[in-house]
């Protein structure tokens, strides 16, 4: 079975999610990677070391500057020549769009939020706050398209070397109508989410953007804690995206995760479920976050958090 992984590239190399997918692809059969855009060729050794036998690579900036259409066209062209059985995509903004476009081009099935793959026609997802596993049989034409949740699989160095196959697909101008004209970074402040021993995250239960300060104060009172956030409050502009924990954000596994005013939508849970100890503060006793909490407090975060800060300051003396 030939399994392709759509690689997500950054200036520092392929993303961790890409390498996680390669581990699964390698386990399932012949793993090959698609690397499109600046940094593709230089990513090949890392992709090879993590299981890719072949890397279809192009450093052409067309793939970065015009969103999904050039990549979808190139991948479709490559499929016609090489016939993969499965293509795995990380659950990122860019890769998701390529998967959606390909689905319509190919008439292939597409499954998202996947946490396990057992063959070319069988994968598992989860629903209802992660309380139910749903096994799905994939049918219809190959390749089947799978968007994988972050941290579903563990990246592994297998020590291989990838053969680089240059991608020389002509991209018609028609597919470059959308154009990226500016890029802006909004870096996170404070300790790194992925490295901190304690992550203090806030959600809608904080009620007002000004209460982000309260979250920061709690992080400081704990000492060196990183500040995280749900997609809801990132989307609402309360805090930059770089703080987002969850499906479309970062995946964290700290010693202690504190969920403040977070209901526990599955999008969020997948990003923090691996935490060793989870403390949740939420008004709604039915909130799904309590199902993954080691210590849950039913109450108003705006009351509990100031009291907790006071207690922590007192203990520090």
């Amino acid at each position: 079975m030939k399994v392709w992984v759509f690689a997500e590239l950054t200036p520092g190399g392929p993303t961790p999610a890409t390498l996680e997918l390669l581990a699964k692809a390698h386990e399932l059969g012949d793993a090959e990677a698609l690397a499109l855009g600046p940094g593709a060729t230089s990513a090949a050794p890392t992709l090879g070391a993590h299981g890719a036998r072949t890397v279809y690579a192009s450093d052409d900036p067309v793939y970065a500057d015009h969103l999904a259409q050039p990549a979808a066209h190139a991948v479709k062209t490559l499929i016609e020549t090489h016939g993969p059985d499965l293509i795995l995509f990380p659950a990122t903004y860019g890769a998701r769009d390529v998967a959606g476009r390909l689905q319509a081009k190919l008439g292939s099935t597409l499954m998202a939020n996947v946490i396990e793959i057992t063959g070319a026609d069988a994968a598992r997802t989860q629903i209802a706050g992660g309380t139910l596993f749903v096994d799905v049989v994939l049918e219809g034409p190959s390749p089947r398209l799978i968007i994988v949740s972050p941290k579903a699989f563990v990246a592994q160095e297998v020590g291989g070397t990838a053969e680089i196959v240059p991608v020389e697909v002509e991209i018609p101008e028609y597919y470059t109508r959308v154009r990226r004209i500016e890029q802006h970074d909004e870096p996170a402040s404070g300790p790194k989410l992925e490295e901190a021993r304690v992550v203090v995250s806030g959600g809608r239960g904080l009620q007002d953007p000004s209460n982000i300060t309260l979250l920061q104060q709690l992080a400081d009172a704990v000492g060196g804690a990183a500040v995280g956030a749900t997609r809801a409050i990132v989307d609402a502009g309360w805090i930059p995206y770089s703080h987002q924990v969850g499906q479309t954000g970062k995946t964290v596994k700290p010693d202690v995760y504190m969920a403040v005013g977070i209901s526990g939508a599955l999008q969020h849970l997948v990003g923090m479920k691996g935490s060793k100890f989870v403390i949740a503060i939420n008004k709604d006793p039915e909130a799904p976050i309590f199902r993954v909490a080691d210590l849950g407090v039913v109450g108003d975060a705006l009351v509990v958090v100031p009291a907790l800060i006071q207690e922590l300051v007192k203990r520090r003396g």
Partner: protein, 254 residues
């Protein structure tokens, strides 16, 4: 400018889907407009208020799924279409995208707006699949959209910040919850919505048949995930802060 906004009725906006005995989502109860779609509706209303034009809310679902379109009516959209057909029960994302694209093409459009993903299925690929079937460009995760001279200018959320994107119309754009604050329907809007007609379309009306919407995946098993054991839930009270501080202490992080 003709704007079509995609809307979905969900049974439970907190995102807890119910499954029927056949493992398909139980959509028999009265639904409500998916909260993520309210942002698409609001963006559509604001764009047409600035530059003129009409907004059509388009949905697909069983008869009871008209709730999403009716809420969009109350918010102020001009027209509404519900594609409903017994053959669409359990439709997957491929079938849904094909059907919505056919309905959009039939209605005519300059711009299609949608939320980034539904709160019950959250696949997040439907809008781009629709764009591909319509053969138009797309931009997802827009936190700001404006249109001038037939070109949309978008601030697109990225992993490290945001990009500014230019996208010529016609196009498909998905908007995030950060794009705008959705209006609450006014009494006037609700009264006016009663005179608006929810138009219904079948697959045959769109020139599609059963083969066009054949399922490409099916659920084989649903099993409970192993529950986390040993969790304690307490009521907030005088000692909640102490209990949390004790837990942090035990974890040796303070």
């Amino acid at each position: 400018m003709n704007v079509v906004v995609l809307v979905k009725s969900v049974i439970d906006p907190s995102g807890q889907p119910r499954l029927g005995p056949d493992f398909l989502m139980d959509r028999s109860a009265e639904g409500t407009l998916d909260p993520t779609d309210e942002f698409g509706v609001e963006a559509a209303l604001q764009l047409t208020a600035e530059s003129g034009g009409t907004v059509t809310a388009l949905s697909m679902g069983p008869d009871g799924a008209g709730a999403a379109v009716r809420r969009a009516f109350a918010m102020g959209v001009d027209a509404g279409v519900l594609v409903t057909d017994p053959l669409l029960r359990g439709a997957d994302t491929l079938a849904t995208a094909r059907v919505l694209a056919a309905a959009i093409a039939q209605a005519g459009f300059d711009l299609v707006l949608a939320g980034v993903e539904s709160t019950d299925g959250y696949t997040g690929t439907l809008a781009v699949a629709v764009a591909e079937f319509l053969d138009v460009p797309s931009a997802t995760f827009a936190r700001k959209v404006s249109v001038a001279d037939g070109v949309a200018r978008i601030e697109r959320q990225t992993e490290s910040g945001y990009d500014v994107i230019e996208c010529p119309l016609p196009a498909v754009i998905t908007v995030t919850a950060g794009s705008t604050e959705p209006r609450y329907p006014t009494l006037k809007g609700i009264m006016a919505s009663k005179s608006k007609t929810l138009e219904s379309r079948t697959l045959a009306d769109l020139g599609l048949d059963a083969a066009a919407v054949a399922a490409t995946q099916r659920v084989s098993h649903v099993t409970p995930a192993p529950a986390k054991s040993g969790g304690v839930v307490i009521e907030a009270g005088d000692d909640a802060a102490v209990r949390i501080a004790d837990a942090l202490d035990q974890a040796k992080v303070i």
